[in-house]
Each structure stands twice: as C-alpha cells, then as structure tokens.
C-alpha cells in the first residue's frame, strides 16, 4: 500500500533525524581549528550529561559556545524556511513560491538596513529585532491589501506580496546607494544570508516561533492535502478553508520572519528543499512537513559548514553555498526522478 501511515512517517523521520544528527556532529568537528571527530563528540556529550573533563578549555569553548549553537541555529532556520516554502507552494498553488514571495524578506531587509545605518547592529538584539519588526509590518500590510471582501484569495495575496516587495526593494536600493562603505559590506552580507550575525540568545528567541509554527502547520497537514485538490474540494470534505488559509499563511510568515531576522536572506533553501523532498517522498503533507524540516535543517547546516571552511579563514555568506550546491542538485533530481506535473 502506498498510503501514508503513522508508521511510515515515524520511520522516515527517524532515518532523517539520524542523518541530521550525523551532520550536526560533523559540522562541529570541522573549522579553522580542527578538533577530531571522536573528541568533539566526547566534548558535546560530556557537556550534555554535565560531566567534567574532555578536551582543552579552548576546544570546549569552540565546540560548545561557537560551533554547536551555530549548527542548531542553522538547523532551525533550514527547517523553518523549508517548511514555510512547502506550505506557501501548496497554498498559492505556485511552484515558484518560496518563503520570501509574500514580501517578508524585503520587509525584514528594510528593517535590518535601517538598523545597520543607524548603528543599531552593534547592539546584541538590534539587528534581529529590527528585521523581525520589518517583516511583521510587511506581513500585516500584505494581508491588509491582499484581502478581497474579507477573504484571502491566493492570487490577490501573491500580487500584493510581490508589489509591496518591489516597493520595499526600491527602498533597499535607495538605502544601499546612500550608505557608507563599511555599512555596505554588512548590508550585502545580510542580504546574502549569513550566520555570523547571530548569537546564542538568538536561538532561544527564534526557537519557539519556528517550532510552534511547524507544529501548528503539522496539525493541519491532512487538511492541507485537501486544499491541494482545490478549495471547493476541501470545503466539500469539511475543511474550513478560510480559517486554514489564515492559520497557514500566518504561521509560514512568522516562521520566515523569525528565520530571516537572525541570519538575513538565505535564498534557495525554501524553494528547492520542499521540491526535492516532494520528488522523493511525494506530495502528502503528513510526510512532507517533517521530512522537509529535517532535510532542510541538514542541508543548511552542511551549507554553513562549507561556507565556514571552503575559503577559510574567509567566511562566505551561506546563501552563496545554498545556491551553488542546491541548484545543480535540484536539476539532477528533476532530470532523474519522475517529474511531478505541476508543482
């Protein structure tokens, strides 16, 4: 039977979780200071179990307060962006949809750039807070303009998102053209997506948003399947489409806002991970949501690992890696797998 069962979801999620754990462990061992694989695992587990010893002071510091938090953050963002992309592709019925399509990214960027230009980026929460507020304001605006007679229409919403997004892009261009050289570097890195802005507290702040958002979306996974078969169809099967749309758009937007606020605009993850996962596991959201989250997390942690090490000691923006590796891989999947017709 091809039917998705709880057993199948648990089995696949477990396998993907193992992959994720392996990638997290791998990512904490590599870097400009090399700590051997067994050594780093030892350090990590001893700290989790509250045991003493293992590794030098420096090694512990590098692994526990730099690499491990960063891997967790990359994982959260990767999971959030992938799930958000998967949901928006389904709701907007548009294969080109990604987490940024409703203008969240441009709003966050305007917030971030204003913070950078005002010198707020040196404060620990200045940058993420400003971009989060920018993203939320944009989401509110898009929803306000994207409604017709109090109802959300995918196409109207999409248009509102794209147009508000382009307006904000104009603002971004304006800010870039008037900014100084040092600020410019920060702005460009933020726009390409970069984890070096983040800190430990950032994880604690975005963790609940991303986790709660994904859980809330997962709770509606079966209904989201029904909406794929058309709005009328979903209504016929007892789904309150208006409510489902509102919940899903808002959750996806919140997840995206939380993600971009800590690491800027990391492109491509939210577009290709859901598609790749769909090509492999099929369109059913009950499997798609957890596997997108886990694969997205693994992919972004691995990308960040490359971004840190490829040209060490220079750190590349992670967005460069996601596009450079993700694109060809996606083309490969597209050519070898049976292509799913519309999405």
């Amino acid at each position: 039977m091809k039917i998705i069962t709880l057993k199948k979801v648990i089995l696949i999620s477990t396998l993907l979780s193992l992959l994720l754990c392996f990638i997290i462990l791998l990512s904490i061992t590599v870097g400009s200071v090399r700590v051997s694989f067994p050594r780093s695992i030892q350090i990590l587990f001893q700290s989790i179990l509250n045991l003493e010893g293992g590794g030098t002071e420096t090694e512990r510091a590098i692994i526990l307060s730099i690499r491990f938090p960063r891997a967790i953050l990359a994982g959260l963002v990767g999971a959030g962006l992938s799930v958000s992309g998967a949901i928006l592709q389904a709701l907007l019925r548009n294969p080109l949809a990604d987490p940024y399509i409703l203008g969240v990214s441009s709003g966050a960027a305007v917030g971030a750039i204003i913070a950078i230009l005002m010198g707020l980026s040196t404060l620990s929460f200045g940058l993420p807070l400003a971009s989060f507020v920018g993203a939320l304001l944009t989401v509110m605006m898009v929803f306000y303009f994207g409604r017709q007679n109090g109802k959300i229409h995918p196409n109207t919403l999409l248009l509102a998102g794209v147009i508000i997004g382009s307006f904000l892009s104009a603002l971004i261009m304006f800010f870039i053209s008037v900014s100084q050289k040092e600020e410019l570097h920060t702005i460009i890195f933020w726009l390409m997506g970069d984890f070096s802005f983040s800190n430990d507290q950032a994880i604690l702040v975005i963790f609940p948003y991303i986790l709660f958002g994904i859980l809330l979306l997962y709770l509606h996974a079966r209904q989201l399947n029904l909406i794929l078969s058309g709005e009328e169809n979903a209504v016929q099967l007892g789904v309150d489409v208006e409510r489902l749309r509102l919940i899903s758009y808002l959750s996806a937007s919140l997840i995206t806002a939380a993600s971009v606020s800590v690491c800027g605009l990391i492109g491509f993850v939210g577009l290709i991970i859901p598609h790749s996962v769909r090509l492999i596991f099929g369109p059913d959201h009950r499997l798609l949501i957890p596997s997108s989250a886990l694969v997205g997390a693994s992919f972004l942690i691995a990308s960040d690992m490359f971004a840190r090490t490829l040209l060490a000691p220079i750190e590349l923006p992670v967005g460069v890696i996601t596009a450079a590796f993700g694109g060809p891989f996606f083309i490969y999947l597209l050519r070898t797998r049976k292509v799913i017709k519309t999405l």
Partner: protein, 265 residues
C-alpha cells in the same frame, strides 16, 4: 429532509437565484435542469454551503445549514463536482480516503476502519483494481467512479452531483447513472443532480426542478415538467417532445430549423 426556503443569491449585483423554494424528501432522486446560467450549479453550491444565500435559509432536518459546522455538513452531504483538478497526482485510494476526512478532524492518519470503508466504497463502484494508480492516469469514467467512491466513503445521507455525465461517452454515462440509481434505490441515498441532459434527467429522476434565470419555472415529476411548452418557453428554442417507447417517460428531440419549419407548414 432538506427545506429550501425562499433563497436568493447574487454574486455582485445580478441575482443568480431569486426566491427559490422547494423541498427534498429523504430517498428522493431530484434533477435540477435549466439553460446555461439559470443557476443550477449555484443552487448546488448553496446546498452544501460553499456559497451562502443573501436571503432565505436552508434547513437540513430542521436545523439551519448556516449553523452547522463544515465538518457536520460534510458528514451528511457529499459532492461530486463536474471535473476536479488535482494539483498533485494522488492515487485513487488516497482520493477515496480523503472522503474520511470529516470524521478524522485533526487526527492525522486513517485507521483500519477507514481503510475498510474506503475499500468497500471502491468495490462498490468497481475501482478497487485501480486503487494504487494515480488519478490522472485513469479514464474519465474511471475517475468519476473514484469520486463517487470518495463520496460514499463520507457515508453521507445526500449526494449532490453537478453535471455528472458531462464528458462521458454514452456507455459510461449509462454505467454511471445506473450506479447512482442503485445507490438511490438500494441504499436509500438522497440524490440531487444538476444536469444539462434533460433526457437523462427525465429517465432517472423522481422529480425535476426546472430553473429559468434563477427562478423556479416548474417543479414536479418529469411528465409535468418536460413538456413542449415548458421547454420552449424556458430554453427559447423549438423542440419536439414525445415519449421514450420503453419507459414511457418524456423525451426531447432536437430538430434542425429547416425540418421544424416543414413540420409547422
């Protein structure tokens, strides 16, 4: 069972339905006929509250439809739409299992019982052999039967059919309608069918509702409704109505204009 109490509905400014009232009894097979744009599909959509009328109300077993939850409606009324476009090629079995949705709520996975119900429904509509095939690989007739199976999996009291025979050849039309008739006669399922094909409606339905520009022009059994005068008045074209020699039900014959003129002279 269902009371439609003087409902009126407009999309923007134009009334699509005006002051429509009728009743649907349990176990009835009702046909809704009328020209293009007479409001057939709108009426069906109002019956399962995809649209809400601006005036009037619908009572389902004396309970106003607008007070029922979407899930409760879906447990009692199943819909087979004209053509369902699916974004993803779900398998036939997955589609039929979707019919269990109103009973699952937030619970994510179908259990053995749901699977059993889905299988039975598919056996009934003879699509069990295709259960693992993707829906877009099936022929039009097979696809229709998959959606009937989905409707059956909802275990409804009423099935609404919108132009069920529109793109089927005559073989599949008759197979499909016989299936619906068996459902109606053997399982006591109440059927409301909107159809362009008045001969089919005349053969299969107990009662017909003839709509003209959003108003009920005539309601009654096929012999009362399908008459030369009614049809010519509502459709604005000349037809010849006689009886189907086997069933005795009224039959509409379309004639070319030249032939009609000769007849009149």
């Amino acid at each position: 069972m269902i009371e439609v109490n003087s409902i009126s509905f407009c999309y923007h400014k134009d009334w699509v339905l005006q002051d429509v009232s009728f009743q649907i009894e349990k176990g009835e097979f009702i046909g809704v006929i009328g020209p293009n744009g007479s409001g057939k599909t709108t009426l069906l959509k109002i019956l399962y509250r995809l649209l809400s009328p601006q005036k009037g109300e619908i009572l389902f077993d004396l309970i106003p439809l607008k007070r029922m939850s979407r899930r409760d409606i879906a447990k009692r009324i199943a819909v087979v739409a004209q053509e369902t476009h699916l974004l993803f090629p779900f398998s036939a079995m997955e589609i039929v299992l979707m019919g269990r949705s109103p009973y699952l709520g937030h619970w994510m996975f179908e259990d053995e019982k749901d699977l059993e119900i889905a299988k039975k429904a598919m056996e009934w509509t003879e699509v069990l052999p295709f259960s693992e095939r993707a829906i877009d690989e099936l022929s039009g007739g097979e696809r229709k039967r998959v959606f009937i199976a989905r409707a059956l999996a909802q275990e409804p009291e009423v099935i609404l059919l919108d132009e069920p025979t529109a793109n089927l050849d005559i073989h599949h039309q008759i197979d499909f309608l016989d299936l619906i008739l068996t459902l109606n006669r053997e399982k006591g399922m109440t059927i409301v069918m909107a159809s362009h094909d008045m001969n089919i409606a005349s053969e299969f339905c107990d009662r017909l509702v003839l709509l003209q520009k959003g108003k009920i022009y005539k309601i009654g059994d096929p012999k009362e409704v399908i008459t030369k005068e009614n049809i010519e008045r509502v459709y604005g074209c000349e037809v010849w109505v006689d009886q189907n020699p086997f069933s005795g039900m009224p039959r509409i014959n379309l004639l070319k204009k030249s032939l009609l003129k000769r007849e009149v002279r």
